[in-house]
């Protein structure tokens, strides 16, 4: 087994674990999620959008649904809407709503604002209610790198980089971020940013729960200041809490990563 393999993140992430436990997550290369509001409460709907080459066979799945095999003509698009309760698929949102009304609830209405987001270079079109936090939305889209820790913007564990700035997503309303470009720890890791290797080599993680927040905050620092002093690093991560308390190792790792940019 190579050194590189040894040091890659664990095979089963929390995201994958929760996905297997039944949470519906957006799927394919271009995917969207609509939030079906039933009696004022959000219920998630997964829409799988698949664009195919002429005459090809596509198997699309979403967790908990049955496979859909589709043969398409040139350039056509197949869209399915999955019921969040029983996973039955429908060809249109109206058909899904009618099913939901008749089978699961007495009334259902689609409410909220539609916003577009790019998260770790994946495009989403999402309908959200006004009180939906950015943290909640990112979680529903499957991006678990933002963590619920203090639940009120005191700890930094929910940090995501939004349009280049580190933002506490638990304190941010999703509806304010139409058109935003968002980066979470998963995207930073996928890009093999030097921070990842530096964090591993310097034993910065113990339980690891706060680590995505630290890495994201650090990335935001290095994006705007690729050559920070130790004091600047400390200042930047002073808003991130770690109960395991490996703070000094974070500073070393970030300075090391800066040298390897």
């Amino acid at each position: 087994m190579s050194e590189e393999t040894k040091k890659t993140p664990r095979a089963i992430s929390r995201r994958e674990f929760l996905r297997d436990a039944g949470i519906v997550v957006g799927g394919t290369a271009v995917s969207s999620a609509l939030f079906l509001s039933a009696c004022g409460k959000e219920v998630e709907v997964t829409k799988t959008v698949t664009t195919t080459a002429p005459g090809s066979t596509v198997i699309t799945t979403a967790p908990g649904t049955t496979s859909t095999v589709t043969k398409t003509a040139a350039g056509s698009t197949v869209t399915k809407y999955a019921c969040p309760v029983c996973n039955k698929e429908f060809d249109s949102l109206e058909a899904l709503k009618a099913h939901y009304d008749s089978v699961h609830e007495t009334t259902a209405s689609v409410t909220g604002n539609t916003i577009k987001l790019t998260v770790n270079r994946e495009l989403y079109e999402v309908m959200v209610e006004s009180q939906t936090t950015l943290y909640s939305l990112l979680h529903r889209l499957g991006w678990m790198g933002v963590k619920r820790f203090c639940d009120r913007g005191a700890c930094g564990s929910c940090t995501a980089i939004v349009n280049g700035r580190p933002i506490l997503t638990c304190m941010a309303l999703a509806c304010e971020f139409d058109g935003a470009i968002i980066e979470t720890a998963e995207g930073i890791a996928k890009d093999k940013h030097p921070l990842i290797e530096a964090y591993v080599q310097n034993d910065c993680m113990q339980c690891g729960y706060c680590t995505p927040g630290f890495v994201t905050t650090a990335k935001a620092l290095l994006d705007r200041n690729p050559n920070p002093t130790e004091e600047e690093v400390v200042e930047a991560i002073a808003g991130n809490l770690c109960r395991c308390g490996t703070y000094p190792q974070h500073t070393i790792a970030i300075l090391e990563a800066a040298k390897n940019l």
Partner: protein
């Protein structure tokens, strides 16, 4: 997945008279409700926790603000569940809470929880006292005689205000039934206990319960060791059974914070007799603890010192705040007593506290000569003196000899008062624990450590992989431990700082046995059902002629005669065929797997073993006498861990313990409304954890004397720093301002009061 949330009590002491959940149950998205009067799991039905506690799953009464009681609601989303809870209508019998434990001792005080189980030493019946436990404790020698023999006798009090647990990751429990089988995902340090818990709750056979333990975010004991530690999992399993879906119970941060605090909170009283040479002759203590205290306060003086006369009584007192439990760790009453007794004696004599420590080092009331003999008898180097070695390194690192001064004697140019503090204790633990683990070699030559264990970030995987790699003879990067799934073998749980010293032995034994199987396989011919002989990899040799290194099996006398581990284990008949034919049916060689169990001591605890490793910590502070603020300028930690297996992991424990200790003794405290018992700062804005900016440079040193009972002479470290170093702050503040502040946390108001610049309330 469905989500379940519990009703958080708005009162510190109350009883539900009636409850109307009809509006909540009608809400769209609500799938099930579990009430306190549920015929199957209500009406006082209990669930067991990891230790011997049993607690009602859905209590009808509450004894603290924020307790999850009365009703749980299961819904499509967490938001729906929480909103449904607001629609529950309850008729309450409100009761007067009692918050101060000294008031709670007054016979006229309200009973904090009339329905609570009677203390074991009282006959069953109506609860008439707030005393929940305690003991007449721990005695050594004759303290009264000791005081007579002492030149000096002092008495002093110490108060530890209640401070908190709260893990990084909120408490959850996830359960799913598949027919008669139950699968759990637990956020808990004792996952193996849940087979028994569910067996008792549902009557299910333990072999039908599968317990997975995903990575745990910041678990330091606390909830896992608490009476209510199984509630979340039990509720999720009940709802999963009733709804037919997987269910996740989840709590709000505010409610979780209210549940449990650290079990060193209370009032301590000490009487200490000593002589002019610094020799401590007798210590007597009577201490009152909030809810419970796991260890006797004088236990470290017994385990660590030559003090010949000790007597300690402790009383546990119930009050209307949450539970208390071990949180990095239960030793805090012992470390508090150790630190304060030594600091006070040194201060009374005007002696260097490091010298007082050396004078009194020992165990069970006996001195260093006794310990030297003990070391020799047990195979240790009698010439290694752990405390001396720690002091030498630590004093040099902090500049002790140059900087230490009389109390209150050094004012800096910036107007602040300089202070230097010191604290010491033994290092724990290498004398208890039990665990099992296996080692399995895959067909590609890589190896798995097969065990189940909570992974809460103590770097166990790295350490165990190092040990297996060394003793199996493969590369470190070819060893993988995936402890999150139910492997049916259970390693020692992360607690007690004794994991390496227990699991290290278990994985080492398993690796050695696995290596033996590998070598035996390498020299064995295999008869393929009469079709012929599949020859050995090393024909004509014995297993003792071979060894393994870096993934190669080789002949000791002729190292060029070698073959990779992969080639030895690969079953050329069964497994090496193309994919469709790689079937177990054609296998000739069996799997290379071995397992081992290790118990470190009798019944998993061997308190007769003396603890031979020591730790010493030094704090440098500046105290602003105008504002009362304390600036921590530098901390030096020296821990003798016997043998370091994973340096990065051990250093991380030193750093982490320092930040936690700084928080505990400088700013962490739960604040309650004194009339209602409502927790006012149950959030991380107002309950202040230490940030990176709150402590100056931390200089950590690891000492390796080999005096631990763990593998390679190792001893633990996980809890050691966080539980001990904090009292270096106490003695540093005294050194700075010449006044003792014996109430933690040492907040600015207390400093100003000690300086006479603020009035007592």
């Amino acid at each position: 997945m469905l989500y379940a949330c519990g009703y958080a009590s708005p009162y510190a002491s109350a009883k539900i008279i009636s409850m109307d959940t009809s509006e909540a149950e009608k809400m769209p998205g609500v799938r099930a409700v579990l009430r306190y009067d549920d015929p199957e799991f209500g009406n006082g039905k209990t669930v067991m926790s990891a230790f011997f506690f049993s607690t009602p799953i859905v209590p009808q009464t509450t004894f603290f603000f924020g307790e999850q009681m009365g009703v749980w609601i299961c819904a499509d989303t967490e938001d729906i569940a929480q909103e449904a809870l607001t629609k529950v209508k309850i008729e309450w019998e409100e009761r007067t809470p009692v918050l101060d434990i000294m008031e709670a001792l007054d016979p006229s005080s309200p009973i904090y929880h009339p329905e609570h189980e009677q203390p074991f030493y009282m006959p069953p019946g109506e609860v008439t006292t707030n005393i929940t436990g305690g003991d007449e404790g721990m005695k050594l020698g004759d303290v009264e005689q000791g005081f007579k023999e002492s030149k000096h006798v002092i008495e002093f009090d110490y108060k530890r205000n209640i401070h908190g647990c709260c893990n990084a990751e909120p408490m959850v429990g996830i359960s799913q039934w598949q027919g008669e089988c139950l699968e759990l995902w637990v956020h808990h340090q004792y996952p193996y206990s849940f087979k028994w818990v569910m067996h008792n709750l549902f009557g299910i056979d333990e072999n039908k319960v599968r317990v997975n333990t995903p990575f745990g975010g910041g678990s330091f004991g606390g909830f896992s060791a608490c009476e209510v530690g199984s509630i979340y999992q039990a509720v999720s399993a009940i709802f999963a059974k009733r709804t037919g879906k997987p269910v996740k119970t989840i709590t709000r941060r505010r409610d979780e914070v209210a549940v449990i605090a650290v079990n060193d909170s209370g009032h301590y009283h000490f009487k200490v007799g000593f002589n002019d040479d610094g020799k401590i002759i007798a210590v007597w203590s009577r201490s009152y603890f909030e809810h419970t205290a796991t260890v006797n306060p004088l236990s470290h003086l017994l385990e660590n010192t030559s003090i010949p006369n000790l007597d300690c009584q402790r009383v546990h007192v119930g009050r209307n705040k949450g539970y208390t439990g071990p949180y990095r760790c239960e030793q805090q009453p012992g470390t508090a007593a150790m630190a304060l007794v030594f600091a006070r004696v040194a201060a009374e004599l005007g002696m260097d506290p490091t010298k007082v420590a050396l004078i009194n080092d020992g165990a069970d009331g006996k001195g260093m000569d006794y310990l030297a003999n003990y070391k020799q008898e047990h195979g240790f180097d009698p010439n290694r003196d752990s405390l001396k070695e720690c002091l030498e390194i630590g004093k040099a690192a902090i500049g002790w000899d140059e900087k230490w001064h009389e109390p209150g004697a050094k004012k800096l140019e910036n107007g602040k008062m300089h202070g230097l503090g010191f604290v010491w204790d033994h290092e724990w633990d290498s004398t208890r624990g039990a665990g099992a683990a296996g080692v399995f070699i895959q067909q590609d030559g890589t190896a798995n450590i097969v065990t189940t264990r909570c992974d809460n970030g103590v770097n166990a995987e790295s350490s165990y992989a190092q040990i297996v790699a060394e003793h199996l003879g493969v590369k470190y990067e070819d060893v993988f431990m995936r402890a999150q799934e139910d492997n049916q073998l259970y390693a020692m749980t992360p607690d007690g700082s004794c994991n390496l010293c227990t699991n290290g032995y278990a994985v080492r034994k398993a690796a050695k046995r696995c290596k033996q199987k590998l070598l035996e396989m390498a020299v064995t011919d295999y008869d393929i059902d009469g079709e012929g002989i599949f020859p050995a990899c090393f024909p004509g040799l014995k297993a003792t002629d071979l060894d393994v290194k870096d993934g190669w099996v080789y002949e000791i006398a002729n190292p060029d005669n070698k073959m990779t581990v992969k080639d030895v284990v690969t079953d050329n008949m069964g497994y090496q065929f193309p994919a469709p034919d790689r079937m177990i049916q054609t296998a000739v060689k069996g799997p290379v797997f071995a397992w081992a169990f290790h118990r470190q001591g009798r019944f998993g605890a061997e308190y007769w073993s003396h603890r031979l490793c020591r730790q010493a910590h030094f704090w440098e502070v500046e105290v602003d006498t105008e504002t009362g603020e304390i600036e921590i300028k530098k901390v030096v930690n020296t821990n003798d861990v016997g043998k370091v297996v994973n340096w990065g992991g051990a250093l991380g424990q030193q750093y982490g313990g320092t930040y936690m200790g700084a928080g505990r003794n400088r700013q962490e405290e739960y604040i309650y409304d004194q009339s209602t018992g409502v927790l006012l700062n149950g959030n991380l804005y107002e309950y202040k954890w230490t940030t990176i900016k709150d402590v100056g440079p931390i200089d950590c040193h690891l000492v390796e004397t080999g005096l631990g009972f763990g593998p390679y002479g190792a001893c633990g470290i996980g809890e050691n720093v966080g539980t001990v170093t904090q009292f270096g702050l106490t003695s540093a503040v005294y050194n700075a301002i010449g006044k003792w502040i014996l109430e933690d946390p040492i907040t600015p108001d207390k400093v100003l009061k000690a300086l006479g610049k603020a009035q007592e309330e």
